[in-house]
């Protein structure tokens, strides 16, 4: 009869499988509030797939936001589940990527892919 588990408390050991923290993970995000953001308000459009984007370092109106790199205009907010990125940004992480998909129907929506740099 064998035993399962490590046989020890798992308190303070980082497992060998974990080589990074959640700050290192890439993100695929469906942005929120697209229709009320400056980019859509100014253009009545959404940026095309492939447009370069990044997470702005400081929150805007208490939310972490994504801006389009060429113009610096905010295109959408990150869902609050990504609020932990504030700590990651504070550690020096930056998040950059591209629009992976976007459209106006059924509601203006933008999907982005972000990598930590």
């Amino acid at each position: 009869m064998g035993s399962a588990g490590t046989g020890n408390f798992g308190d303070y050991k980082q497992t060998s499988a974990q080589s990074g923290t959640r700050c290192d993970a890439s993100l695929d995000v469906d942005l929120e509030d697209v229709a009320t953001m400056p980019y859509f308000v100014a253009t009545s459009a959404v940026p095309k797939a492939g447009t370069a984007v990044r997470v702005r370092a400081a929150p805007v109106n208490k939310r972490l936001v994504v801006e389009e790199v060429p113009t610096g205009q905010v295109i959408g907010t990150l869902p609050t589940i990504y609020n932990y990125l504030l700590i990651c940004i504070g550690k020096g992480y930056q998040y950059e990527g591209t629009v992976s998909a976007s459209g106006l129907r059924p509601i203006p929506s933008i999907d982005v892919h972000l990598d930590s740099v």
Binding site: A4, G5, F9, G10, D11, Y12, Q14, Q18, T21, R22, A58, P59, N61, K62, R63, P79, T80, I81, N83, Y84, L86, I87, G90, K91, P106, I107
Partner: protein
């Protein structure tokens, strides 16, 4: 400058258990260790007075030293039970269902002199008590002698209101929703505060993924929760308590609560203490931004107004265990779930057209009443998908719960605001979408 009051010396009193996370195959020390990890992470000066079986003492002492604990003492020897808690579900989707092994056989040999000696040596300014099977009155009396501020986590008080009155005056009492005390107050935290306000300085209600609230005098403050990819919900409330009582008493209470929620979400995101400590160290540097960040706020007493339509093949010949669990979890968090077939009836093939149309209209009326729809395709039921599409076209939030198997249909997946494969994920999404 740290947002925490470095003049405070915190003594934490309570049980220590082995938390056995059955769903992760992971064990670690729990009970007051959750507060200890938090106090270590924020660099607080603290001591621990614990109750535990003697076989754990060596491990307890070793880990407390690693956590920078200034002083500690065993104030209660536990006999008859191993001090092991089996946690079947680390995420609090619904009632977690801790199993404290042999709890009925548990006996405590209390050591008053050890507590007195620790109080004398450590001289705490603040004492945070997690009640258990030990003489709470003795602890309170001895603590008052040294004029420490008294903070009690009321979750495990046998009779909350009676016990708070009996133990008063107290500085802070914490309570988590759901709780019997809240239910007995008509589900209204304000009502509960009116009942106890002349006996305590502050009542802090932790409303789980919906945020928190503090009552003090005629004022109240509230703050959102910060949802994250939750790995576990164990000890997150204890972490929150420790963060609230160590904050500067001069700062806005809403900031204290918001920060505590943000750090507690970090605690819930990992079992790795080094990762937690690192995140807190960086969060401390950006405190102003953390305190003002937007999160999710869903007041406990307002949740019943959120009606949730459960679209599913709720048929007699379908196993509905997952649907039953979802309904129970939503009720646990105080929402109002609806199962249309149970409420309005089942349309049987071949039944008269007027009857079918009456059922259809009743279901539409129910849909109109709901702020969220959760589709649970236990089988490939066209009705479930039709309801998901209908609700989605109303531009109201929806969740696709892949309870039994992944759903690959393009329209189904993309109509849903969220797609989840676990009950925990569904509950997280409910708060995200409605908060």
């Amino acid at each position: 400058m740290t947002p925490f009051d470095s003049e405070k010396r915190v003594l934490v009193i309570g049980d220590i258990y082995i938390d056995t996370h059955a769903d992760h195959g992971y064990i670690r020390l729990g009970g007051v260790f959750h507060a200890a990890r938090t106090l270590h992470a924020i660099g607080a000066t603290y001591a621990i007075a614990f109750l535990a079986p003697s076989y754990l003492h060596e491990s307890i002492q070793a880990f407390l030293k690693q956590l920078g604990c200034i002083d500690y003492a065993s104030v209660g020897e536990v006999h008859g039970a191993p001090g092991v808690v089996i946690i079947k579900e680390s995420l609090e989707s619904g009632d977690i269902g801790y199993d404290d092994l042999l709890r009925e056989a548990r006996r405590v040999q209390w050591n008053d002199s050890a507590l007195l000696a620790l109080l004398e040596r450590f001289a705490p300014t603040d004492i945070l008590i997690f009640p258990g099977a030990f003489p709470l009155e003795n602890v309170i009396i001895e603590s008052r002698r040294i004029r420490a501020r008294l903070h009690v986590d009321g979750q495990y008080l046998p009779s909350f209101v009676d016990d708070v009155i009996r133990l008063s005056p107290l500085d802070t009492v914490f309570l988590s929703a759901p709780s019997t005390a809240l239910k007995l107050s008509g589900g209204d935290p304000s009502q509960l505060w009116q009942t106890v306000r002349s006996h305590i300085t502050s009542l802090v209600i932790k409303e789980n993924r919906g945020g928190s609230r503090a009552f003090f005098g005629v004022q109240q403050a509230e703050a959102p929760a910060f949802p994250t990819k939750t790995i576990h919900s164990i000890g997150v409330g204890d972490c929150f308590d420790a963060l609230v009582i160590t904050a500067h008493s001069t700062e806005p209470v809403a900031h204290t609560l918001g920060r505590a929620a943000y750090y507690a979400s970090s605690y819930a995101s990992t079992f790795d203490h080094d990762v937690f400590v690192d995140e807190i160290a960086h969060a401390l540097k950006i405190d102003a931004n953390v305190c003002q960040l937007s999160g999710k706020r869903l007041r406990w007493e307002q949740r019943p107004q959120h009606h949730v339509y459960l679209a599913a093949p709720d048929f007699p010949d379908v196993a509905t265990t997952k649907l039953d669990s979802l309904e129970a979890a939503l009720r646990y968090h105080n929402f109002s779930p609806h199962r249309p077939i149970k409420e309005n009836g089942l349309a049987i093939a071949g039944s008269a057209v007027p009857h079918q149309r009456a059922l259809f209209r009743a279901d539409i009326e129910l849909i109109d009443k709901c702020s969220l729809l959760i589709a649970v395709p236990l089988t490939a039921d066209p009705g479930t998908f039709a309801e998901l599409g209908y609700f989605s076209a109303l531009h109201r939030p929806t969740i696709l719960y892949e309870a039994t198997a992944p759903i690959f249909n393009l329209f189904v997946r993309n109509c849903a605001s969220r797609v989840c494969s676990t009950l925990g994920g569904v509950i997280d999404s409910v708060f995200e979408l409605l908060g």
